[in-house]
Symmetry: C2
Subunit: 370 residues, 2 copies
């Protein structure tokens, strides 16, 4: 369904405005790397912003060159005649502050010290990201986004936008998200962080100077993460108890296909992902808590928003299950906000938000059209 956006390129937005962060620190200036697909119309009313999840970035669709092996991370969703149709909409992807792929992060030079930030790079929150994203959207001359479409941590950013800038967005598509993390969610994040923090190659976050990186910790973090992205049923169907060579090896080499899959995913991630980014992304997740400043009353959080909402959950998602999406729906309804809710039957767990399914894609397509 639909075509690719084709060959794309990234741009850098350099912001000279000081950004005061929730943690109390400030960024005197910063870069955001971003991509756009489709054309902004004359009245600038057709822009859709897609914030990314934990390990995503600004490269949502298309390829960088003809022989590029991979397309952007949501290429099945964004493109000409795709659910987020770039024939109609002007789509914007941004790599978040602290991210891995070109925005200002722990890998960057601190303009004050002229040295790499490393461990001194601040822990940003979803609210900080939204504030920085707004600067970029403003720089494009867009006063009001037609929509923000976010899955998982991206859905949290979408919600925060509607709260912090109620006049700046018309529709929120909040997919496979939650109003906050549970103790179990935080627990998984903490195990992943500990694996990185205690890696000898982490050097308290200043591993760049040592020309190394905490690959072992990153491997464990990613392997663990993957278990929470998949459902028990989908793992059983895909891997079950299948043995790589059909028999037990009675040693600690990979023996089951699921072991091989996880180790492969861990190795790949450890080669490419930045440990300081991973740590900070998980903290942004942990700290995201819509109710915190509203006496734990979620319905009060949405009192002043103006956007319409589509909330989407997936039946087998145990990271952010349908019950968490329903909390959001209920709080929106308490405020008489126009909300549509879709619980998609899917056995692929949390990852379902990235996968193609007719019901899901039609839900997004139709909501944007409506």
């Amino acid at each position: 369904m639909g075509k690719s956006v084709g060959i794309v390129e990234s741009k850098i937005f350099h912001c000279k405005d000081e950004l005061a962060l929730v943690c109390g620190k400030k960024l005197s200036e910063f870069d955001l790397i971003y991509e756009t697909y489709g054309k902004l119309n004359k009245n600038k009313t057709n822009a859709i912003f897609i914030p990314h999840a934990l390990s995503g970035n600004h490269h949502i669709a298309g390829k960088y060159h003809k022989n590029d092996k991979y397309s952007g991370w949501w290429d099945n969703m964004v493109g000409p005649a795709k659910p987020i149709d770039t024939n109609k909409y002007f789509v914007i992807g941004i790599n978040n502050l602290g991210g891995n792929d070109g925005s200002t992060s722990a890998k960057s030079i601190n303009p004050k010290t002229k040295k790499v930030w490393g461990s001194s790079f601040p822990i940003l929150t979803v609210k900080d990201w939204v504030a920085s994203q707004k600067k970029l959207i403003n720089s494009l001359g867009i006063e009001k986004l037609y929509a923000i479409v976010g899955g998982s941590l991206g859905g949290m950013q979408a919600m925060q936008w509607s709260i912090d800038f109620p006049d700046a967005v018309e529709k929120i598509l909040c997919i496979a998200a939650a109003p906050s993390l549970t103790a179990q969610n935080i627990a998984f994040n903490e195990v992943a962080r500990q694996a990185i923090l205690q890696d000898d190659e982490f050097y308290k976050g200043n591993f760049y100077e040592q020309k190394t990186k905490p690959k072992k910790g990153l491997r464990i973090a990613r392997m663990l993460g993957h278990i929470t992205y998949l459902s028990n049923d989908s793992m059983d169907k895909k891997f079950g108890r299948k043995l790589i060579q059909g028999k037990y090896n009675y040693n600690f080499q990979q023996n089951y296909e699921i072991e091989s899959y996880l180790n492969y995913q861990g190795d790949k991630f450890a080669m490419t992902f930045d440990a300081n980014t991973y740590l900070r992304m998980t903290k942004a997740l942990d700290y995201f808590d819509l109710e915190k400043n509203f006496k734990n009353k979620l319905s009060k959080v949405f009192a002043k928003i103006k956007a319409k909402y589509l909330v989407v959950s997936f039946s087998s998602d145990w990271r952010f299950p349908p019950s968490r999406s329903k909390e959001i729906v209920k709080a929106l309804l308490d405020n008489n906000i126009n909300v549509t809710y879709a619980e998609i039957e899917a056995e692929t767990g949390h990852d379902a938000f990235l996968l193609e399914s007719e019901h899901y894609h039609n839900t997004v397509r139709n909501y944007l059209r409506s």
Copy 2:
């Protein structure tokens, strides 16, 4: 309810019979450390064996001295007037081969080489454990156990006993177990193993010579394990999003109470548990597969057993959920075996099998009496 068995002591059973293992290796001789509580009756018909789960051992009940801070791991279940009543029954606990606490293991001296086994200690299976346990039970002059009561990995051993020695046990109490691990179960085990295997202090399993141990890996393994022993709901109730000092710290120190709990559990475990034992216990779990030699037909597995069964599951256990226990029940019923099934309402997850609850304890008590 009930009293303590009081001060107890361990004994060593030294077996000079060669034990041929499933992996193809042999143990020319071995030690099993064990404890007993209550008195064996004249006809030797009142013996109950309790195999342990992943991190358990032979010390089930009582204390080693008056000022001992901790009792055995199932002290709430075993003792005078307790559900497994030591006024009536003679109860036996054994530390499995490869275990941590005094039985022959990777820490022991290989009698052939006169050196510590270390990495060369074999990977044992549930079937091997059962064979070695039978030798000890025989040495006590017991031809037929009145019951075997096992939770989790202990339940797997109980089932294996009824299959391998159908005349040697009257009642099986199989609690919070499964006929095999799912892909997700194996995945969690593999992440834990990788954390240990890649720890620089592991030295390929020969860390004893280096006078060190892979504490970092063990910490991660235990933290992760704990998440799977608890339920999402019980974690939310006990910890929720509670902050240790009431506020975000914007660094990577422990900030939430759940983080503090997990790190504490990890540290404690890393101090005391042996990494080679942990690796081998998880492999025994992965390799346990009742159906494997029966063309994946669980009902055929139980064709020749003679024991009666009580199968117990806990509603919030997502490690070995009620559906897995029901597979066992169904396969037993297919063979017209006398089986009682109890699904206990509990919100404490897999750990519920170790905790006191009236319905659960009465179920065990009454089944043993019946």
